[in-house]
């Protein structure tokens, strides 16, 4: 398939599993790779070399990319810091702000459903004496704005709330959160790894002070991300990586020119195609969801349906354990909130935070649709899941009990 601007879009190969895990990562867009290629061998210069043409051409490419990254969120290019990815951006934003302002303020507010790198950054800061409030979420996965208002104190330096949850795809009310933070003089950081390039974001309209961005979630390369750092009013950070003072001293190290160019190109494509892509993904997602619920009973959607990115579904298939289900659909690549798929043997903390009961959390699948997902793949995947769920329910003692009208909760189970 050839796109309007002449780039080619790769199709999924027939002998490989159907990829439906776009919240985990995305393949590189061929157009992004094309943009990156010259910067590996020919235009290999160090963008920080000021004394010759190799450096100048690399610097020009990096600055053009910075502008592309900024444009998508209505930011100034000087407010974009390149990092190795959203994990580093989250670490830098949270620890950097907390450490810079620690003499005046020592409190952070975040959500229990944040990505592990946000939660873990906060945990580490607690050891440095920072107080952290981990706010619960509502049943639909969204923050309770009243609870947030109550949680902010005069000592609060930062509110860190993700734009889109990586497991359940729900979109937090960024504009309302931003307005609340600005009114209270609190910095607002948002992990936008799952939102950037997927939904419209505007740092001014949403009053976002710090925003984490990932390359590989938007058909860009792995190993690159960015942190938006507001200039007016200026946000100050203590750096995590020290060295030559690149990126305005906030992130030292030679910039990886091809990766920066890739992130920039991915952002530019997203800016052009986001609206039409969102519409297409919503159509695919709704088609898939409808097909599933028409043929299977007791399938539950986790997270709000309306405030949700178009490329995500998170479904619990009652009475069928998630890892077993994934083994039954080997030709589909999806992920599960089941304990058996995690190292900790605990079911998804995000689903648990929504109040999803453990037995249902074990039965969840996250299905992610993206740029290269086709209608045929969606139909095929839905049919495979339906067949596998039916087969596994036929061999599930819990399904049998439910059919006999036995309340599973009435049984004394021995925890093991």
């Amino acid at each position: 398939m050839t796109t309007a601007n002449g780039g080619t879009i790769r199709r999924n190969e027939p002998d490989r599993p159907v990829y439906l895990d776009y919240q985990a990562t995305t393949p590189l867009d061929q157009r992004v790779l094309d943009a990156m290629m010259p910067y590996f061998i020919e235009k290999f210069g160090n963008p920080h070399s000021r004394s010759h043409a190799y450096g100048w051409e690399a610097e020009k490419a990096v600055e053009a990319a910075r502008e592309q990254v900024a444009e998508l969120i209505n930011a100034d290019p000087r407010e974009i810091i390149f990092t190795s990815g959203a994990t580093e951006s989250n670490n830098l934003a949270i620890a950097g702000a907390a450490r810079f302002y620690k003499d005046r303020k020592n409190h952070i507010v975040t959500l229990v459903t944040e990505h592990k790198c946000v939660l873990d950054s906060c945990r580490h800061l607690e050891q440095e004496g920072v107080h952290v409030t981990y706010l619960p979420v509502q049943k639909n996965g969204l923050v309770d704005l009243d609870a947030l208002k109550q949680a902010i104190t005069d000592k609060t330096v930062l509110v860190s709330i993700m734009a889109v949850n990586n497991e359940i795809g729900v979109i937090q009310p960024l504009k309302e959160i931003g307005a609340m933070c600005r009114a209270r003089g609190v910095l607002f950081h948002s992990d936008c790894a799952q939102a950037y390039g997927k939904i419209p974001l505007d740092v001014d309209a949403m009053k976002i002070d710090l925003m984490s961005i990932s390359g590989h979630k938007i058909y860009g390369p792995k190993g690159i991300g960015a942190l938006y750092v507001r200039r007016k009013p200026r946000v100050r950070l203590v750096a995590l990586i020290h060295g030559g003072g690149q990126e305005r001293g906030m992130r030292s190290g030679t910039l990886p020119t091809p990766l920066c160019v890739g992130l920039g190109e991915a952002a530019a494509i997203a800016k052009r195609e986001m609206a039409s892509e969102a519409e297409r993904l919503k159509m695919l997602r709704d088609r898939f969801h409808k097909r599933i619920i028409e043929r299977l009973s007791e399938v539950y959607l986790n997270g709000d349906l309306e405030a949700r990115i178009p490329g995500n579904l998170n479904l619990s298939f009652a009475y069928v354990e998630g890892e077993g289900l994934m083994m039954g659909i080997k030709d589909l690549s999806v992920s599960s909130g089941s304990a058996c798929t995690s190292a900790s043997l605990e079911p998804s903390y995000v689903l648990r935070a929504l109040g999803v009961e453990e037995e249902l959390a074990h039965t969840s699948l996250r299905i992610g649709f993206g740029r290269f997902t086709t209608e045929a793949e969606v139909d095929y995947a839905a049919d495979r899941i339906i067949a596998a769920v039916q087969k596994l329910r036929d061999m599930s003692p819990l399904w049998e009990m439910a059919q006999q009208g036995i309340n599973i909760k009435s049984i004394q189970w021995a925890a093991h």
């Binding site: 890892e323 083994m327 453990e358 189970w413 093991h416």
Partner: protein
């Protein structure tokens, strides 16, 4: 996770899926595990007058290893006496299916299911006897 061929075979072609009449005095039923923990096994044995297990059926809610472990033990217990069946160890199950370390609990559950089924059968038989006396 990479699983052994034997495990995948049991998962994809599970042996002896189904149910026996749990009210039949010659049937023993073992129900172990918990939904909140992500695995529940129901193992049933049908015992002949000679004390030998004639048939076994299972239903399992769980991961691939849990399903394969229960499928395997239905094969193993058939033709065995109650004592022989109850002496099957989880390590044998784990070894046969080459279970990865994080999945050992699935084999423990399968061993427990056999013991629970045998115990259920025996308690039913005792009740029958005392009812007859």
């Amino acid at each position: 996770m990479a699983y052994s061929e034997k495990l995948i075979d049991h998962f994809e072609h599970p042996r002896n899926v189904g149910a026996l009449d749990k009210n039949d005095p010659s049937v023993g039923t073992g129900l172990v595990g918990a939904p909140a923990c992500g695995d529940v096994m129901k193992l049933q044995i049908h015992v002949g007058p000679d004390g030998v297990i004639k048939d076994a059926k299972f239903k399992t809610f769980g991961c691939g290893s849990a399903i394969a472990s229960s499928s395997l033990v239905t094969e193993w217990v058939k033709g065995k006496s109650l004592d022989e069946a109850a002496s099957i160890r989880n390590t044998q199950i784990a070894q046969h299916l080459a279970l990865p370390p994080v999945k050992i609990h699935c084999s423990v559950l399968a061993e427990d299911a056999i013991k629970a089924a045998v115990a259920d059968y025996r308690s039913k038989q005792n009740q029958e006897k005392s009812a007859a006396e």
